[in-house]
């Protein structure tokens, strides 16, 4: 039972960590995009 349980936990952990990394990258990209937008608006003024 221990082998089956540990395999399942580790496999889902692997995919979950990858998804978390993707979400973090996406947030950073959106933050950078917003910052760029602000800088452009400042330039217009």
């Amino acid at each position: 039972m221990i082998y089956l349980a540990s395999a399942l936990i580790l496999l889902w952990l692997l995919v979950t960590l990858y998804v978390i990394t993707m979400v973090t990258r996406q947030r950073r990209l959106e933050r950078d995009m917003a910052l760029l937008k602000e800088q452009l608006q400042e330039r217009r003024r």
């Binding site: 221990i2 082998y3 089956l4 395999a7 399942l8 580790l10 496999l11 990858y18 760029l36 452009l40």
Partner: protein, 250 residues
């Protein structure tokens, strides 16, 4: 110019396109298929008749192992398509496809090695042995890890895409080698599809419920792979767009 491009991007971001809805449907389908796989692998599939105890329970890891194999294989095939596409068309979209494919191939490839090692402990009494199949699989994953490291070392986007595409073409040679290693060389790894291996340890016959569960595993991991690939490809596109805008501005 940068102002107009950014405004256009902002406007298109506000509207939810059919592609977004399609991707959301794919996400939900992948999640449901994975739930179905857990149920089928743990409850529906009959246990292997020739195994007992821990070995019999660990056999159920096989369904997730095959799912990961499918997704890793798809990742490497997508990387081949993306690399050939870039070399022919010289458009960065193809390179992004190859990059996303390899990233997922490495993740699921690591899943293959991990699940295989855990299955091996009660079956072969060791987590790892330098068997031809295990060795070629580990080398394949490492070759693709090296691809990701190699990419990071090149700043110019087109040079990076060109050299990465050439690297990925050669790297793909390790994929068929891994598949055929259990057929060409002496190995204790079972051959499940299109053949058999008399020296395999931990081999088992596949009954009706097992083969149905395998189909669910293949479908679930294919959907998961497709959903993650599209998300990652889009993210890489956004990263490139942001870099382009920065370059225009500064």
């Amino acid at each position: 110019m940068a102002n107009v491009t950014l405004e256009m991007k902002e406007q298109s971001k506000m509207q939810m396109s059919w592609a977004d809805v399609g991707l959301m449907v794919l996400d939900v389908a992948a999640a449901l298929a994975l739930v179905a796989l857990v149920w089928a692998a743990l409850l529906y599939a009959k246990p292997a008749a020739n195994l007992a105890g821990d070995e019999q329970l660990a056999q159920r890891i096989f369904y997730f192992h095959i799912g990961n194999v499918t997704a890793a294989f798809l990742g490497f095939v997508v990387s081949l398509v993306g690399s050939v596409g870039y070399l022919v068309r010289r458009q960065l979209g193809w390179d992004r496809l190859a990059h996303a494919g390899i990233e997922l191939g490495v993740i699921f490839g690591a899943g293959v090695l991990l699940s295989g090692s855990i299955w091996a402990k009660p079956t072969w009494n060791t987590f790892w042995t330098w068997d031809p199949r295990l060795t070629t699989a580990a080398i394949t994953v490492l070759i693709y890890v090296a691809y990701l490291l190699f990419r990071n070392g090149i700043d110019n986007r087109h040079s990076r895409a060109l050299f990465s595409s050439i690297y990925a073409l050669f790297a793909f040679l390790s994929v068929p080698l891994t598949y055929y290693s259990a057929r060409w060389f002496r190995t204790i790894h079972p051959v499940v599809f299109n053949g058999s291996n008399a020296e395999a340890q931990g081999d088992f016959g596949i009954g009706a419920t097992m083969s149905q569960t395998l189909m669910v595993a293949t479908l679930a991991y294919t959907l998961l792979f497709a959903a993650l690939l599209i998300h990652r490809w889009r993210q890489l596109r956004l990263e490139d767009e942001l870099t382009e805008l920065m370059e225009e501005l500064y």
